[in-house]
């Protein structure tokens, strides 16, 4: 059985992401149990310069290239898949991020390996197994993988990034990055426009989700936010509808926030939302569905209708 653990390292604007450091930490934990070695693969422009940061890995496989210097879903996937084929890792860890989502399924299909998505944890003691979330976080499953090799797409927060930042200096190796005929060309990167309010610096956030039902009802949430001296934030569907600007979005593709109080109203608590707010000091959730996963991270919860709750709390604050 192949003994190494391979981590896909994502990087943007000259920085290795926290999700990648988290996976290196997780790989270290797994390796300490069965004596495996940890390999980190970093592909793209500037990869060489970043290799030194990946000290938590025993071997750092560097595919520095100008041909697809910025993330190229096809180029990076093909190079990584070739690496998985040649290095034969027992465990391949990919972050379940926007970048990892392009890498994981393609690598699994190309290398004919099982893929386990939405993973919270991985275990490699006897058989390869994992615990994953399904159905928007409402359900947890334990799975066992057939065979002795697999790819795991890990949800955010599965291990501490800080632990993945330290370690001895690994051995750096260059890898082949030739990819014929790329059908995809990177054009440009766009940084977000800053909004009227910076939700990452607010002490109190009143966050609304699809439970708010219509644009007209946002006023009622705004009144509550005003009474509380809070800013209004939201889950993705509210932003996608155009009801609030992108700068108010909390979660995977929005912003990460850590206010003193996060009041979640009509938000189910999908993993993509939770990864942006679970570190808030106090989380209070109101949702009519007692199974809503938001109650799994909340410190306080009330099962009920936000349209009953909002005016009541606004009145209490104003009274």
């Amino acid at each position: 059985m192949a003994e190494n653990i391979l981590v896909y390292v994502e990087h943007l604007n000259g920085e290795v992401t926290d999700a990648s450091f988290g996976l290196i930490a997780l790989a270290r934990q797994l390796a300490s149990v069965n004596g495996a070695s940890v390999e980190a693969a970093i592909i793209g422009g500037g990869a060489h310069g970043l290799a030194a940061k990946l000290a938590g890995a025993d071997t750092i496989l560097v595919g520095d290239t100008d041909t697809f210097g910025d993330f190229n879903p096809q180029g990076h996937s093909e190079v990584f898949a070739a690496l998985v084929t040649s290095r034969e890792p027992a465990i391949t860890l990919v972050p379940y991020t926007s970048v990892g989502m392009d890498i994981a399924s393609l690598t699994a299909a190309t290398c004919n390996l099982p893929l386990v998505s939405y993973c919270l944890s991985v275990d490699a003691q006897d058989t390869l197994s994992a615990t994953c979330q399904l159905y928007g976080g409402k359900v947890e499953v334990d799975v066992e993988v057939e065979g002795d090799r697999a790819i795991f797409a890990m949800l955010a927060g599965c291990a501490s990034p800080d632990e993945g930042r330290s370690g001895g200096a690994g051995v750096v190796e260059s890898i082949d990055v030739a990819v014929p005929d790329l059908g995809i060309t990177f054009v440009s990167l766009t940084e977000p426009e800053s909004g009227d309010v910076d939700i990452t610096t607010e002490d109190i956030l009143v966050a609304i989700g699809r439970g708010i039902e219509s644009e007209d009802n946002i006023e009622e949430a705004q009144e509550l936010a005003d009474a509380l001296g809070a800013a209004l934030a939201a889950s993705r569907p509210i932003i996608d509808q155009g009801w609030l600007p992108k700068s108010r979005q909390v979660g995977k593709s929005g912003l990460s926030v850590k206010p003193k109080v996060y009041l979640a109203l009509g938000i189910s608590g999908a993993p993509e939302h939770l990864e942006g707010m679970r570190d808030s000091s106090t989380i209070i959730a109101v949702n009519s569905d007692p199974q809503a996963p938001i109650f799994g991270v909340a410190h306080y919860g009330w099962v009920g209708d936000i349209f009953d709750f909002m005016p009541e709390l606004t009145a209490r604050l104003e009274g």
């Binding site: 989502m101 499953v141 189910s268 199974q291 009330w302 009541e312």
Partner: protein, 254 residues
């Protein structure tokens, strides 16, 4: 442009879920199914592109359930030129098998563009869109928030994180995993859906039952802990507001 949109029925996220007696799957007897929300965005982006470039759009879905038929009729009512309902017995299969079924159906049809939602809530063993791309050897981009015609291909915006996006040019044929359409998915009147039911634009295709090829075995399924460690507030909204006020006060924010 000839466009295929791959759509899937997933358990309705707002319904109460129960675990079946076998302990490794949902109790599906009374479960309601809805269109995967990201597939709705894929359909919308496909309809916008078809309006811009001409050509045709075909919607595909797997399963014989009434909800699946309804989903496809809705797609026709929204503007799909045709729809194909795959399978005699293809319900409850893994993402690998779903992808294999879609690949079987579209492989020789000469599509320029295959769109699907970026993910679905039950894709334990991979994202269908990307598995299809791999099987067909086509370039792919996931987490797409805009795809517009550009020269012989498309200009595609992919979302990263923290509001950062990247723009790409992609050659056709290609596969995109759509996160959000450029515009909110359109609504369609019930009368139009009834018309679609009469239109004959929906065709059933029998496919061989694909092997469940994901090679992962669920050994246990449980409802996630909710409120574990949380204080659940009892009583009506007045009691809830009062308790929340106290909590805010002890957090020092009011």
């Amino acid at each position: 442009m000839k466009i295929a949109v791959l759509m899937r029925a997933v358990p309705d996220p707002v319904e109460e879920l129960e675990i079946g007696d076998d302990g490794v799957d949902l109790d599906r007897d009374f479960l309601g199914y809805v269109l995967n929300e990201f597939d709705d965005h894929a359909l919308e982006e496909g309809l916008l592109l078809r309006e811009e470039t001409g050509g045709s759009l075909t919607a595909y879905a797997i399963g014989t359930a009434d909800e699946v038929t309804q989903m496809l009729h809705t797609a026709i009512a929204k503007g799909a030129d045709s729809a194909k309902q795959l399978g005699e017995d293809l319900d409850v299969i893994d993402a690998h098998a779903q992808a294999a079924a879609f690949v079987d159906a579209v492989r020789d049809t000469g599509f320029d563009l295959i769109l699907s939602g970026v993910q679905a809530s039950d894709e334990l063993d991979g994202q269908v869109a990307m598995l299809v791309a791999a099987a067909l050897g086509l370039p792919h981009i996931s987490v797409v928030v805009s795809a517009t015609p550009h020269e012989a291909g498309l200009k595609v915006t992919k979302e990263y994180w923290a509001g950062i996006t990247a723009e790409y040019e992609i050659d056709l044929p290609a596969v995109l995993g759509v996160q959000t359409a450029r515009e909110a998915p359109r609504y369609v009147a019930v009368a139009r859906i009834r018309q679609a039911q009469e239109s004959g634009a929906l065709e059933s295709l029998d496919l061989d039952q694909p092997d469940p090829a994901g090679r992962i075995r669920v050994t246990a399924m449980r409802l996630s802990e909710t409120g574990d460690g949380a204080e659940m507030i009892e009583g009506d909204e007045e009691a809830a507001a009062e308790r929340v006020y106290e909590i805010l006060a002890s957090a020092g924010v009011v």
